[in-house]
Amino acid sequence: MRLIVAIIRPEQLSDVLEALFHAEVRGLTISRVLGHGGETEHVENYRGTTVKMALSEKVRLEIGVSNHFVQPTVDAIMAAARTGEQDQDAVTPVVGTRT
């Protein structure tokens, strides 16, 4: 049994959930978190105040799977969470720990 933790971009969540469903992974928890994954910060303006958003919204997935399911689960997440744009892709770490 292993716990997989993945932090992904919120706009990829639907795609990742769909991929996990197809990989027949059942049972997971998500939480909305703030983080920085080394991506380019975007600049916003509010009445003359310019700010750089250093933290952006991320989604943290926690999935407990049996050992032989680890690789298919990780593959599904990696494939679906990639946006295909290099600079923006830093934010898809997947960690497996023994439990």
């Binding site: 769909e18 920085h36 975007h42 916003e44 310019t50 750089k52 958003m53």
Partner: protein, 334 residues
């Protein structure tokens, strides 16, 4: 001028409902300027400015064909040309805020008294008639919609009620000053039917008409325009007679004017959008669309907690010096 301008600008708002969350802001601005000049202005002239449709006898009290069918035809074509949102038809896209929707429906209803009663262009009996009809028809549409919801699913929704109010308002718009109050009730209730089913049908297609402009304004406007010519009553308005009042030909004239408006608006919208697309891309990439156009295009978020926002100091230290600002380092020490 300002009054007529309000009619023109509402079409921009209507069309935006079919392309929200995906069309680029710059391309939309270019489109709407070209569309108002090349489509809205001539159509308004045909029906209201003594043009050929007015000459043929088409009735449009406050914009059923000119505003609603015209804008909905453009919205339909724009939704097809621009294409659906990236997640449309794959993942559920839910309404963002139901209380805001109801607030908007209430504001619309209030403003619509100005559109319809104001179209009498004076504090006349016709203005009073249009005012009363603008109250009654949406009420009847809301009641009919509620019954349809009860019959179909057994549950009544607030979002559906807001749509019903808009459909009733759109349906009475061409008829406001031409029909009696009893007819306005019937018109509102009957007007709700086609839109109700058009909306259900739309949800089964790939047409991402995000705010159901076609179902509410196009189908509702066309139904209202046809019913105007069924119910128009010279005894109430002192004006034209409809089918019930002994003038069945009027319905054919109205149908003809609707087809003209639909065809011209749709074709012109297609040409304008395709022309703009040569110079300006109509959409952002999939990723920016996923992030949301607020952040990607406007650099502003509607609901930010401000966590992780770093203040970017303006260039030039003049202000800082004048205010004796001391730069603060880590731990709060200068």
């Amino acid at each position: 001028m300002a009054f007529q301008g309000a009619f023109a600008i509402i079409t921009a708002a209507l069309i935006s409902g079919a392309i929200v969350e995906r069309m680029r802001f710059g391309a939309y601005l270019a489109f709407i300027v070209a569309w108002i000049v090349a489509v809205y202005a001539p159509v308004a002239h045909w029906v209201w400015g003594g043009g050929f449709l007015a000459g043929d006898g088409a009735l449009d009290y406050a914009g059923g064909a000119v505003v609603h069918v015209n804008a909905a035809s453009a919205a339909l074509v724009a939704a097809i040309v621009v294409g659906p949102r990236k997640d449309y038809g794959r993942h559920a896209i839910l309404p963002h805020n139901v209380p805001f929707t109801l607030l908007g429906a209430g504001l619309l209803w209030f403003g619509w008294f100005g559109f319809n009663a104001g179209s009498a262009l004076g504090a006349t009996p016709a203005a009073a008639l249009a005012f009363v009809n603008t109250l009654l028809a949406p009420s009847a549409a809301l009641a009919a919609w509620t019954l349809l919801d009860m019959a179909r699913s057994g549950r009544v929704t607030a979002g559906g009620g807001a749509t019903a109010i808009v459909v009733g308002l759109v349906a009475i718009t061409p008829a406001a000053g031409y029909v009696g109050p009893g007819s306005a009730l019937a018109l509102g209730a009957l007007g709700a039917l086609p839109s109700y089913f058009a909306l259900i049908l739309r949800a089964r297609t790939r047409l991402d008409d995000s705010l159901d402009v076609v179902a509410a304004h196009g189908v509702g406007g066309a139904t209202g325009a046809i019913l105007t010519d069924v119910f128009a009553d010279a005894a109430w308005s002192g004006g034209p007679s409809g089918a019930i009042d002994g003038n069945p030909w009027q319905v054919a004239i109205q149908a003809y004017s609707l087809v003209v408006v639909l065809a011209y608006s749709g074709a012109a919208t297609f040409v304008i959008l395709k022309t703009i697309a040569i110079v300006l891309p109509l959409r952002n990439g999939r990723r920016l669309e996923g992030v949301g156009l607020d952040v990607a295009e406007h650099g502003e978020e509607a609901y930010t907690a401000g966590d992780g926002a770093i203040l970017v100091q303006p260039h030039g230290a003049v202000l800082a010096a004048a205010l004796d600002v001391v730069p603060v380092g880590e731990g709060g020490r200068p």
